[in-house]
């Protein structure tokens, strides 16, 4: 795999780029199709990356701690997304630092005992998703835990928690003539300038490893769950918004970004039909949707 002095990732029409400030630092691309990493567009956020001894790094005030893969801290206006691995304890292996809404920031990569010749995947999980969640909330978008399928130019969103049937649904649609699965696990929704809601593929796929860098206008939302028969259940507005909210990746750290996301989902469910879909895995589940959507 080629190593690079700069890397970029475009998801949902937004581009996050990383540029090496240290000549020893080389990058590789992450998961998903190369089309996500093609670059070209002016970045919406640019991170200047360098090696740093992060065991000496002093985090500011803790804003949010997953006690797992990442922690968010704040020093003044600067937010630090620190990526953590259990074998390093409290020392992050990578920290992205930027002011909310700024177009530039920095990416500190722990030098540690690293072989500096080895290339780094700068936006490896969970950093890219965290930064995109933040960016999307400021640009009329949201990242949803969902499988997205495009049929005859119409975007069908199948959202669900883990084990609800997203991967199963993706595999059912994978070989349907005229259907394209944009992702079996993560979809970006955005309100575009044409006043329509669009569904975008992402590189963050699930077990079916389906990931396509394309988009389609959102035509219908189905909240997946396993059932004993295929059925469509209409949702009230409150149920639709709360169902989507509970299956989205949200900017919990920023109240104004949460407000924007809630407003986006509220308007979205007014514009796009949203139903609960208990289903039985099989071709019939596809046929029912084609008849309904």
């Amino acid at each position: 795999m080629d190593s690079l002095a700069a890397a970029s990732l475009t998801v949902g029409g937004l581009t996050l780029a990383v540029r090496a400030s240290d000549a020893r630092l080389r990058f590789t691309n992450g998961p998903g199709s190369d089309a996500f990493y093609a670059g070209g567009a002016a970045p919406d956020v640019l991170l200047h990356a360098r090696f740093e001894d992060l065991d000496r790094w002093k985090p500011g005030e803790t804003v949010f701690d997953t006690h797992g893969s990442w922690r968010l801290t704040r020093e003044g206006e600067v937010l630090s997304f620190a990526c953590l691995a259990s074998h390093l304890g409290a020392v992050p292996y990578k920290v992205a630092r930027l002011r909310p809404g700024d177009a530039e920031g920095e990416l500190l990569i722990h030098r540690g005992a690293r072989d500096t010749e080895a290339a780094v995947e700068p936006l490896q999980f969970p950093l890219a998703e965290l930064l995109f969640i933040d960016l999307l909330s400021r640009r009329g978008g949201v990242l949803v835990h969902a499988c997205g399928v495009v049929v005859n130019g119409r975007g069908l969103l199948f959202t669900g928690h883990s084990q609800a049937g997203k991967t199963t649904t993706a595999r059912l649609w994978e070989n349907v003539s005229g259907a394209v699965v944009l992702s079996d696990d993560r979809i970006v929704l955005r309100l575009e300038e044409d006043g329509r809601y669009w569904m975008f593929g992402t590189p963050w796929h699930g077990d079916a490893a389906l990931s396509v860098a394309e988009r389609a206008p959102l035509a219908a939302v189905f909240v997946l769950e396993h059932g004993d028969r295929n059925a469509f259940v209409d949702l009230s507005k409150v149920e639709a918004v709360s169902s989507l909210l509970a299956r989205s990746f949200l900017p919990f750290h920023d109240p104004s970004a949460m407000d924007s996301t809630l407003a986006l989902l509220e308007e979205l469910v007014d514009a796009v039909p949203c139903r609960r879909y208990p289903f039985v895995p099989g071709p019939e589940a596809v046929r029912c949707v084609l008849e309904k959507a």
Binding site: T66, G68, W70, H87, I109, A118, E121, H161, H205, A246
Partner: protein, 61 residues
Amino acid sequence: MAENASKETRRETKLPYARPVLRKVPLRPEEAVLGFCKSSNAAGPSGANCIPIGPCNTQGT
């Protein structure tokens, strides 16, 4: 006269009181905050394309 008619119309069009209903929405905090690696074929410290650090102990979802 007109004011009285307007009050009457408002009274007629007023929606009946509906008692607020509290609904619980099931959340999956560990999924919602990306607290765990998605899978071994996605990005993450355990991923096949993981270069910078060692094995992941946070497999989830």
